[in-house]
C-alpha cells in the first residue's frame, strides 16, 4: 500500500537548522500533537493549558526517570495555527544530540517523521495558505516528494535494500505458510508452529539490530564520535578537556545561559569531529570536573562511542582504576596514561599487557605526546567508519524509526507466542513487521502475499 500523504496523522520535525544557533525547535502538528508532547513533558499538564501559551519544564523519557533536556513548550491549538492543526513547539538547548533525541522520542511515541514540505502542505490543504499559491504548492509537493523518493531509493540502492528484502522474504515465507494453514486447513502443508514463528521473528530481529548498529556509524559520520573522558578524581580530566576545547581547532557549541547538568560540546581534533558528552560545566565550572567521580562517569559510558580513560601514571594502579578498566573493556577506548612528567609508577607496557585497547602515555600539563593521542583518535575514528563504503549503512531517521518499529512488532510476536497466543493472532504483528519493512523498500503490497501463497503451495479447493 502506498504511503499515505493524505492522512493527517501527527508529524514531527526539527524546524531549525540542525547544529546551528543556541536554541533548536522541534515541531509537532496533528491531532495527537498535544498528547504526544504531554506524555514526555514534566511540568504543566499540556492538555489543560490555554492555547497559544508557553510552558517551562523538562522533557523526560516516558518512564520519567531520565531528563533529556530543560525545555520551553509552546502549545497552539487548531485552527489558529500555521497548519490549522494542533501544533506543539519544543524549544530545546540546541546541539545535534539532544535535538535528535527529542525527535526520536516523539517518533517512538506516536508521531511520524514529517516529509519534506509537509507542514507547508498541510497549511495549504487546510486552506491556511492563499489558494492563488495552489499551482506552485503542488509543484512543490511533486518536486519535493519525488526528490525525496529518489533520494531514498539512491540511499537504499545496493546492500541495504538487498538485506531488507532478504529479511522480508523470510517473514513472507513463514507468513505464506501460516496463511495456507488457515485458508486451506485440509491441505497437507506443514503447520507453522509457535516455535517456528518465533525462530523466524528472532532471526529477523537480529538482522534488524545489525542494520541498526550501522545506523550508529551513520550518526558518527554526521555528528561525530560521542566521547566521554572518564577517570578517578584528580587524574587530569579537566586539563585534557581544557586542552581539547581550548586548542586552536576547537569549536564549542553554545551552551551558555543554561542550568542543564548534561552538556555537550562538539569539537574537532585534527579535523575529527568529537562530541564530548556528560562533561558538565565545561567552561564555567571546569574546576569542578575533577569532583565528578566514578558514579557520574558511568552514565557517560553508556552513551559514548569512544572512551578516553585517564590513569595517573605517577601512582600505582588503584582499585578505582581497575574498576574503570573493567567497566570500559567492551567499549572502543583509548587508555591515556597522564602525568608522565611526575615519574612513572606505571608503564605503558604494563597497562598494554592488560588490554587490547591502545595505550598512550602523555603529559597534558606539558602537552607532551598529545599529538599521538590525536593520531590515535583519528585512527579509531576511521576504523569506526571505514566499513562505510563496503557495508550497509542505515543513514536516516525514517529508516531508523521504521526498523525500530519492525523490531518492536517482532518482539510483540515473540511475547505473544510465549503467552500461548495462537499463531494466527501473533501473525497480526508478524504481518505488521513485514509491512513496516516494506515501507522502507517501498514494496508493501498485499498481492505479494497472495502470489507467494500460490507459488509456494500447490492448492486445490
Amino acid at each position: 500500500m502506498a504511503q499515505v500523504l493524505t492522512e493527517f496523522d501527527t508529524i514531527a520535525a526539527i524546524s531549525t537548522p540542525v547544529g546551528e544557533g543556541g536554541i533548536s525547535i522541534v515541531r509537532l502538528s496533528g491531532d495527537a500533537a498535544v498528547t504526544i508532547a504531554n506524555a514526555l513533558f514534566k511540568g504543566a499538564d499540556l492538555t489543560k493549558v490555554p492555547s497559544h501559551t508557553i510552558h517551562y519544564g523538562h522533557l523526560m523519557v516516558p518512564d520519567g526517570r531520565q531528563v533529556i533536556d530543560e525545555v520551553m513548550v509552546t502549545v497552539m491549538r487548531a485552527p489558529k495555527t500555521f497548519t490549522r492543526e494542533d501544533i506543539i513547539e519544543i524549544n530545546c538547548h540546541g546541539g545535534i544530540v539532544v535535538t535528535n533525541r527529542i525527535l526520536q522520542l516523539l517518533l517512538q511515541n506516536g508521531a511520524r517523521m514529517a516529509d519534506p514540505g509537509e507542514f507547508t502542505k498541510r497549511a495549504f490543504v487546510h486552506g491556511r495558505i492563499d489558494l492563488t499559491q495552489a499551482e506552485s504548492t503542488m509543484d512543490l509537493i511533486r518536486a519535493k516528494t519525488d526528490q525525496s523518493r529518489a533520494l531514498a531509493v539512491n540511499q537504499l540502492a545496493g546492500k541495504l535494500l538487498a538485506k531488507i528484502r532478504r529479511s522480508r522474504q523470510k517473514l513472507l515465507d513463514t507468513l505464506a505458510n501460516v496463511e495456507v494453514n488457515i485458508d486451506y486447513p485440509e491441505y497437507d502443508a506443514d503447520t507453522v508452529t509457535a516455535s517456528q514463528m518465533q525462530a523466524t521473528a528472532k532471526q529477523v530481529m537480529t538482522e534488524i539490530s545489525q542494520l541498526l548498529a550501522t545506523a550508529n556509524e551513520g550518526k558518527i559520520l554526521r555528528n561525530g564520535l560521542a566521547t566521554a573522558i572518564v577517570g578517578r578524581p584528580n587524574v587530569g580530566k579537566s586539563s585534557l578537556l581544557n586542552y581539547l576545547t581550548h586548542s586552536e581547532q576547537a569549536i564549542v557549541t553554545d551552551v551558555a545561559g543554561t542550568t542543564r547538568d548534561t552538556l555537550e560540546a562538539s569539537i574537532s581534533v585534527d579535523g575529527i569531529p568529537l562530541e564530548l558528552i556528560d562533561t558538565a560545566g565545561i567552561r564555567k565550572t571546569a574546576d569542578k570536573v575533577e569532583k565528578i567521580g566514578v558514579a557520574r562517569s558511568e552514565q557517560a559510558l553508556a552513551r559514548a562511542d569512544l572512551i578516553l580513560l585517564l590513569i595517573d601514571a605517577s601512582q600505582p594502579l588503584s582499585a578505582e582504576d581497575r574498576e574503570l578498566l573493567a567497566k570500559t573493556s567492551q567499549k572502543k577506548r583509548i587508555v591515556v596514561l597522564n602525568k608522565t612528567d611526575l615519574g612513572a609508577a606505571i608503564t605503558a607496557e604494563s597497562i598494554q599487557a592488560m588490554t587490547a585497547s591502545p595505550v598512550i602515555a602523555v603529559s597534558v600539563l606539558h602537552e607532551a605526546n598529545l599529538s599521538a593521542l590525536a593520531a590515535e583518535i583519528k585512527t579509531l575514528f576511521f576504523q569506526g567508519i571505514k566499513n562505510r563504503h563496503e557495508d550497509v549503512l542505515v543513514s536516516n531517521q525514517r529508516q531508523v524509526s521504521l526498523l525500530t518499529k519492525a523490531s518492536d512488532q517482532l518482539q510483540d510476536v515473540i511475547t505473544a507466542l510465549d503467552a500461548g497466543t495462537p499463531v494466527d493472532l501473533a501473525q497480526i504483528d508478524f504481518t505488521g513487521a513485514w509491512e513496516t519493512l516494506g515501507e522502507i523498500t517501498g514494496e508493501s503490497a498485499p498481492d505479494e502475499l497472495i502470489t507467494q501463497l500460490f507459488s509456494q503451495f500447490c492448492l486445490g479447493k
Binding site: 493524505t6 503542488m138 523518493r149 485458508d183 499463531v423 501463497l453 500447490c458 486445490g460 479447493k461
Partner: protein, 631 residues
C-alpha cells in the same frame, strides 16, 4: 428474426438464477419491489455445478454475512446439508470456519421453492439476448422468445454461461455449465455497448459411482457432533445427527506418470484453452507439472447428495480426454474399479472486467444496470451469492430512487471482495481468502450477525422477531461483560487447583473475573463452575464475550487501523472529476484514476502503481474545492 412483443413491466429484473441471481431476486422482492428473475433453465436454480459444499475459510464468513443481511444462502444450506464441520478449531477465533457438505439436489429444490413462494417475485425460463438501454439508462431486457420486459433496474448474473465453451481433451463444444444452453448473444450485446470483456477458465473433476469405490483404502472424514449452523435463525435442536461422511485418498507416482505421458492431449498445455484459470484451483495436470517434486496430492471424495450414489472427486479437476481421465482415476487407491459417471471438464466463459463497476455493482457506463457473481470474475458460490445480494439490494434501492448500499473492507468480507474487484480488477477467477482481509479479527464468522444485522434491518430484509432476538443477544453480551467486571475471583482452593490443572500460575490475590478470563485456558464455563454462578445461558453469548475479552489487545490494534481507514474513506472524490485537469499527476496515475474512478481517497490509495505524490496532489486538488468535471 424473432418478432418482439411487449410483455409485463417490473421494478427489477434479474437475469440468471444461480447463487448470485437467487440472492439478488429474493432481496429485491423482499424489499417490496416487483421482481422478475429469468433463467436459461429452471432446473438449474441455485445449482452447484462443481463441488457439493458451502463455506470454508472466508467463504463461510460470507455465508453468515449474507444471512445477517437477510439473504438466503445460510438458511438454504442449513435446511439441506448432509455434513457440517468447523475447520481450524485448533487456531484462533479469527480464522475458524464452518463448512457444510450440501445435498446439491435438495439445495436447488429448496431455493427454487423459496423463490416460488416469495411474494412480488416471478420466476421464468428464458434466455436474455438484449438489454433495453435509453439515454445511457437500462430500461429492461428482451428474451430469445421475443418478450420485452421493462424495468427500472436490471441485474445480470450470467455465471459461466456467457459464450460458455466446454473442453474435454480434444473435444470442445458450446455449452453452459453442466451441459446447459449457453448465452451467446448477450455477451456480443455488452461488447457493443463498449464493455471490456475477457475469457476466464475454470474446471470441474469427474464424478464416480460410490458403489464402485473401495472405501477401505481411504480415510474417513465425518461431520461434527457439536451442533453448528450458518443462519442466526437455525436452532441447535434441529442439528442433523445422521450425517454423511467424506473420504480422503491420494494420487501417486503412477497417476502422475499417466498425466505426464498424456500432456500432449491436455488442453491446458496444447493451447486449446485460451482463458485464464485460477491459481488456487488448478487442474490436477497443472498441479503435477507445477509441483513436480510432490509425490502425491490429496483427493477428497464428496457425496453429491443423500439420495444419489454420485461422488465428486474433489481436487481432481481435469480437462484430459475421457480415456485418460479413466486411467488417472483407476490409478488412485480406492478408485481402482470406480465407474465414471460424468467426466471432468474445463469451461471457458466471458467475464466483464470488474473495474467497470461501482461499489454498488452498478456499471459505470449504464445507469440502472448491475452485474454480479461469476461474470464479475469471481469463482465460488459464496462469492457469487454475496455479490448477488448486494446487487439485488442496490437494484431495488435504485428502482426506488434511493442512495446505494455498500460495505467497507472493515465491515464485511463481502466489502473486501467487492472493493478488490472494482479497485484492482482481477487477472484470474477471484477467490476470497482470509489473507485478502486486513481486519480479519474483526471480520469473524461468529460476529457477522453483530456486524451486519442492523443493516439488514434498515434495508427491510430482517423481520421484527429476528431483530428482537438479535437485540436481546446484544444486550446479553453487554450484561455478561458487566457481570464479569463486577465479579471477583478469590484465591480459594478450588480456584488454585483449577489453575494448576490448566498449567497456569495460582492467584496471589483476588482478581476481577474479566481479567481472570484473559488467562489462556480459562473459559466462562470454568468461571461459572468455580463461582457456582450461572452467568449466561446462551453459548453464543459466552463465545462473543470470551473473544472480546481474551483478544481485546489485538482487536484494539485492528480497530485503530480501521479508524485511520475511516478518515480516508470519508474523503470522497467527485465522480465526474476530470483527471486531465489535475496538474502534476504522473501519467500512469492519471490513466489509472481515470479508468477506475476511485470513489474515495482510501480507494485511490489501494490502486496499484499509484505513488504517494499522486495521492497528495489528488488530495490537495479535491480539497481546495475547485475541480473540473468531465464533459
Amino acid at each position: 428474426m424473432i418478432k418482439t412483443y411487449n410483455s409485463s413491466e417490473y421494478d427489477v429484473i434479474v437475469v440468471g438464477a444461480g447463487h448470485a441471481g437467487s440472492e439478488a431476486a429474493l432481496a429485491s422482492a423482499r424489499m417490496g419491489l416487483k421482481t422478475l428473475v429469468v433463467t436459461i433453465g429452471l432446473d438449474m436454480v441455485a445449482f452447484m455445478p462443481c463441488n457439493p459444499s458451502v463455506g470454508g475459510p472466508a467463504k463461510g464468513t460470507v455465508v453468515r454475512e449474507i444471512d445477517a443481511l437477510g439473504g438466503e444462502m445460510g438458511r438454504n444450506i442449513d435446511k439441506t446439508y448432509i455434513q457440517m464441520r468447523m475447520l481450524n478449531t485448533g487456531k484462533g477465533p479469527a480464522v475458524r470456519a464452518l463448512r457444510a457438505q450440501a445435498d446439491k439436489w435438495q439445495y436447488h429444490e429448496q431455493m427454487k421453492r423459496t423463490i416460488e413462494n416469495t411474494p412480488n417475485l416471478t420466476l421464468r425460463q428464458a434466455i436474455v439476448d438484449q438489454l433495453v438501454v435509453e439515454d445511457g439508462i437500462c430500461r429492461g431486457v428482451v428474451t430469445n422468445t421475443g418478450a420485452k420486459y421493462l424495468a427500472k433496474s436490471v441485474v445480470l448474473t450470467t455465471g459461466t454461461a456467457a459464450r460458455g465453451k466446454i473442453i474435454i481433451g480434444e473435444l470442445t463444444y458450446s455449452s453452459g455449465p453442466n451441459n446447459t444452453t449457453p448465452a451467446i448473444k448477450l455477451s456480443e450485446h455488452l461488447a457493443d455497448f463498449g464493455f471490456k470483456l475477457r475469457r476466464f477458465k475454470t474446471g470441474t473433476p469427474p464424478r464416480v459411482n460410490g458403489n464402485t469405490i473401495d472405501y477401505h483404502q481411504t480415510e474417513e472424514e465425518p461431520g461434527d457432533q457439536e451442533p453448528r449452523h450458518f443462519s442466526f435463525t437455525s436452532k441447535d435442536a434441529d442439528y442433523l445427527r445422521d450425517q454423511v461422511s467424506c473420504w480422503m485418498t491420494y494420487t501417486n507416482a503412477q497417476t502422475h506418470q499417466i498425466i505426464r505421458d498424456n500432456l500432449d492431449r491436455a488442453p491446458m498445455f496444447s493451447g486449446l484453452i485460451k482463458g485464464v484459470g485460477p491459481r488456487y484451483c488448478p487442474s490436477i495436470e497443472d498441479k503435477v507439472i507445477r509441483f513436480a517434486d510432490k509425490d502425491r496430492h490429496q483427493i477428497f471424495l464428496e457425496p453429491e447428495g443423500r439420495h444419489t450414489k454420485e461422488i465428486y472427486v474433489g481436487d481432481f479437476s481435469t480437462s484430459m480426454p475421457e480415456e485418460v481421465q479413466l486411467k488417472m482415476l483407476h490409478s488412485v487407491a480406492g478408485l481402482q474399479h470406480a465407474e465414471l459417471m460424468r467426466p471432468g471438464y474445463a469451461i471457458e466463459y466471458d467475464v466483464i472486467e470488474p473495474w467497470q463497476l461501482k461499489h454498488t455493482l452498478e456499471t459505470k457506463k449504464i445507469k440502472g444496470l448491475f452485474t454480479a457473481g461469476q461474470m464479475n470474475g469471481t469463482s465460488g458460490y459464496e462469492e457469487a451469492a454475496g455479490q448477488g445480494l448486494i446487487a439485488g439490494i442496490n437494484a431495488a434501492l435504485s428502482a426506488k430512487g434511493q442512495p446505494g448500499f455498500t460495505l467497507g473492507r472493515d465491515e464485511a468480507y463481502i466489502g473486501v471482495l467487492i472493493d478488490d474487484l472494482v479497485t484492482k480488477g482481477t487477472n484470474e477467477p477471484y477467490r476470497l481468502l482470509t489473507s485478502r482481509a486486513e481486519y480479519r479479527l474483526i471480520l469473524r464468522h461468529d460476529n457477522a450477525d453483530l456486524r451486519l444485522t442492523p443493516y439488514g434491518r434498515k434495508l427491510g430484509l430482517i423481520d421484527t422477531d429476528r431483530y428482537e432476538a438479535f437485540l436481546a443477544k446484544k444486550q446479553a453480551i453487554q450484561d455478561l461483560i458487566a457481570k464479569l467486571h463486577d465479579l471477583t475471583i478469590h484465591p480459594i482452593d478450588d480456584v488454585q487447583s483449577f489453575l494448576v490443572k490448566v498449567g497456569q500460575a495460582p492467584l496471589s490475590d483476588g482478581v476481577k473475573a474479566d481479567l481472570f478470563l484473559r488467562r489462556p485456558q480459562v473459559t466462562i464455563d470454568d468461571i461459572e463452575m468455580l463461582t457456582h454462578l450461572k452467568l449466561a445461558s446462551d453459548r453464543y453469548v459466552k463465545e462473543q464475550v470470551e473473544i472480546a475479552l481474551k483478544y481485546a489487545g489485538y482487536i484494539k490494534k485492528e480497530q485503530q487501523q480501521i479508524d485511520r481507514l475511516k478518515r480516508q474513506e470519508a474523503k470522497r472524490i467527485p465522480s465526474q472529476l476530470d483527471y486531465d485537469q489535475v496538474d502534476g499527476l504522473a501519467t500512469e496515475a492519471r490513466q489509472k484514476f481515470a479508468k477506475i474512478r476511485p470513489e474515495t481517497l482510501a480507494q485511490a490509495e489501494r490502486i496499484s502503481g499509484v505513488n504517494p505524490a499522486d495521492l497528495a496532489i489528488l488530495s490537495v486538488y479535491i480539497q481546495n474545492g475547485h475541480y473540473h468535471e468531465t464533459k
